[in-house]
């Protein structure tokens, strides 16, 4: 088992190399002259050249790449011009906000999508099935920034049941002492129920927006996989053995149907991490996505590059975890690995 996990981790290394190379190339392909940019508009030609030497931009490309690798190894992603802070620190500080949103949305989406897909597959042609088809097609068609605004309009402006979309906490509250960085958990650790409620209220709309979007591919895949498994030979055997319909559905059909669903989770996460950027902008969420977008608007590129790198590495780690999860639930993987 451990050997297998190790082998999966090794297989992820080419991807990491690819990511580092691509981010390096994107750094060098920046519009304009980074040296002139760092020096500022008032700098003399001489000052610009000085900075160019200091940044190593006069070196050959391979030399710059090695310097870049050295910086990465030290965790140096450069300085953010707009905040004057280390990019890595800024990103690490904002990461929990993004993760809390993403993970909670994923949880909500799974809790709705899995039963929906199963119900649709067990009753093909029924209203549940049609509803599932409609929801899945509509869900992937929704521009996520638009859904978010629409929800904010309906639940904040019209109905007044949701708090204003102003980030993780209303200005009346101050954040809980940091343990995990997740306000929902930290507020519980601090035993502050009012704070928990406030943080949860702020999360409802962004989580719902993201969950609606992610729900569609999961429900679609679950339905397709369940349909396939339910008509398979081994489910027929299970039914012929008189196993109760619950056993057949969960122990036999559902566990097998989860295999293709788990494989598509990689794609789902790709969507989610991308959507995060947009959602955070809509709900003024202080995560790494909005940080990157703000930096982008101010032509502050180091945070953008750092953000892309961190997101890609996070995505590789998620894919690795999905691979390992798959290995754990499917005994057949051991053979072909």
């Amino acid at each position: 088992m451990w050997q297998l996990i190790g082998r999966r981790a090794l297989a992820a290394i080419p991807n990491v190399i690819g990511i580092v190379v691509v981010t390096f190339v994107l750094t060098r392909a920046l519009p304009g002259d980074p040296a002139a940019f760092y020096a500022g508009p008032a700098a003399t030609q001489e000052a610009v050249e000085q900075i160019r030497t200091k940044l190593g931009l006069d070196q050959p490309l391979w030399r710059q790449f090695i310097d870049y690798l050295g910086d990465l190894a030290r965790g140096d992603l450069g300085l953010s011009l707009s905040t004057g802070q280390q990019v890595l620190d800024e990103i690490l500080r904002r990461l929990p906000a993004s993760l809390e949103l993403t993970l909670l949305a994923l949880l909500v989406a799974c809790v709705i999508a899995l039963p929906l897909g199963i119900l649709a597959a067990t009753r093909p042609g029924s209203w549940v099935d049609h509803a599932c088809r409609l929801i899945t097609t509509l869900g992937v068609s929704l521009p996520i920034f638009f859904t978010g605004l629409l929800l904010a309009y309906v639940f904040y402006y019209l109905l007044g049941v949701a708090p204003p979309p102003v980030g993780r906490l209303d200005s009346m509250f101050s954040p809980p002492p940091q343990w995990t960085g997740f306000y929902l958990i930290d507020s519980l650790i601090a035993g502050d129920l009012a704070l928990f409620r406030a943080a949860a209220a702020q999360m409802v709309l962004p989580v719902a927006t993201l969950a609606i979007f992610v729900l569609a591919p999961i429900a679609r895949m679950t339905r397709a996989a369940m349909l396939g498994v339910l008509s398979s030979d081994f489910v027929r055997t299970a039914r012929a053995s008189g196993l109760s319909s619950g056993t057949v559905l969960y122990k036999y059909a559902f566990r097998n149907a989860m295999l293709p669903v788990v494989t598509t989770m990689g794609m789902v996460f790709s969507f989610m991490l991308g959507s995060n950027v947009v959602i955070e902008k809509v709900f003024a969420w202080p995560g790494i996505g909005s940080f990157a977008v703000d930096a982008l608007m101010q032509s502050d590129y180091a945070p953008v590059q750092g953000f892309v790198l961190v997101m890609a590495l996070l995505f590789v780690a998620i894919n690795l975890m999905i691979d390992i999860l798959y290995t754990v639930i499917d005994p057949r993987v051991t053979i072909d690995a």
Binding site: F234, R236, A240, S241, S244, T247, D330, R332
Partner: protein, 341 residues
């Protein structure tokens, strides 16, 4: 509902030495339909036969003749699109066509079990085979959970699986087709049912394994006095292992007789053709006769009363018009044909 139907009464179970037979399973005038996008498929029509305790019968016909669907219907595992539109199937005093889903679940796997073709895909691919046996034991018996493993190992031993302790922890993909079929037999027989339906149990297995699996089924059936239904397209296989044979064509039972009687005096033209197409050791391959034509499209609304008439070389106008009569020739030998041989 058809207790007084004379055609049914003629299906007299063959007498055997141990006394007057009591049918374990009596299927009467069963009809099954499938609703599909392109119309209603009349998959089974007026199917009647019976199975006695401890007896082995063969259900023979081309693929698509409704053999498997017949037993899916009897055991209540038809697809959602299929439904029993007529008839009864009395098993141990209970009409299965009227039974609730819970009653059927309680019978399946305990009183009547079924095994299938292509055993390697007919077992749950991601569950240890030992646990799959335990699932059935836990469902149908009151075995305490501490005893489940012991009972599962016994079931594995009963189907003569070498090294059961190790196989218990195996997944189906780690086992050969023959071993998987033994596992499936172990699952089916774990609760000592009185009826085993074996649906093409040797399809997808090596030739050498086929005989071993069939011998195992035969031996277990004899030792436990278990009735066995062998569903097969191979008349030769049925001849070797079955006491009686039910011949099916396009959803009809066309002939029922004891194996010796059927081979000695086939009365239905289809049976005669089937026997002619079955290779015997001495026959020259060139003398194998193919049966012309295909099974009729069962969605048609203008199906003739005799569904074989369009392929039959003895066809006469009456075959296409008059209702199909079932005639008895001798005890237990019935034929559904207007112009029997």
């Amino acid at each position: 509902m058809n207790a007084l139907d004379p055609s049914v009464a003629m299906v007299v179970p063959e007498a055997d030495a141990s006394g007057p037979p009591v049918p374990l399973l009596a299927v009467e005038s069963l009809a099954v339909e499938f609703r599909t996008r392109s119309g209603v498929v009349h998959a089974l029509e007026d199917v009647s036969f019976s199975v006695n305790k401890g007896e082995t019968i063969g259900v023979v016909g081309e693929s698509g003749s409704g053999k498997s669907v017949l037993f899916y219907a009897v055991l209540g595992i038809l697809d959602a699109a299929g439904r029993i539109s007529r008839g009864r199937a009395v098993f141990g005093g209970l009409d299965l066509t009227q039974a609730t889903a819970a009653e059927l679940e309680a019978i399946r796997g305990r009183e009547a079990a079924m095994i299938f073709q292509n055993p390697r895909v007919a077992l749950n691919p991601i569950r240890k085979v030992g646990h799959q046996i335990e699932d059935v034991l836990a469902r149908h018996t009151s075995t305490p959970s501490a005893q489940l493993k012991k009972r599962a190992l016994e079931a594995l031993t009963a189907v003569r699986i070498p090294d059961p302790e190790r196989r218990y922890h195996a997944y189906p993909f780690e086992l050969s087709g023959g071993l998987c079929q033994r596992i499936m037999i172990a699952i089916a027989l774990a609760c000592t049912p009185s009826l085993l339906v074996a649906d093409e149990p040797t399809t997808g297995l090596d030739v050498t394994t086929q005989a071993a699996v069939m011998d195992l089924i035969g031996e277990l059936a004899r030792r436990r006095n278990m009735a066995t239904v062998l569903i097969t397209h191979d008349l030769g296989l049925a001849a070797e292992y079955c006491d009686r044979i039910v011949v099916m064509h396009a959803g009809h039972v066309v002939e029922t007789a004891s194996t010796t009687e059927l081979f000695a005096h086939p009365r239905h033209p289809y049976t005669a053709k089937l026997i002619a197409t079955t290779p015997h050791g001495t026959n020259d391959l060139r003398s194998l006769a193919a049966i012309p034509g295909n099974l009729p499209d069962l969605r048609r609304s203008d199906l003739p009363p005799c569904r074989f008439s369009e392929r039959c070389d003895r066809v006469e106008p009456v075959c296409q018009t008059s209702p199909l009569a079932r005639q008895a020739f001798s005890a237990g030998h019935t034929v559904a044909c207007c112009r029997p041989i």
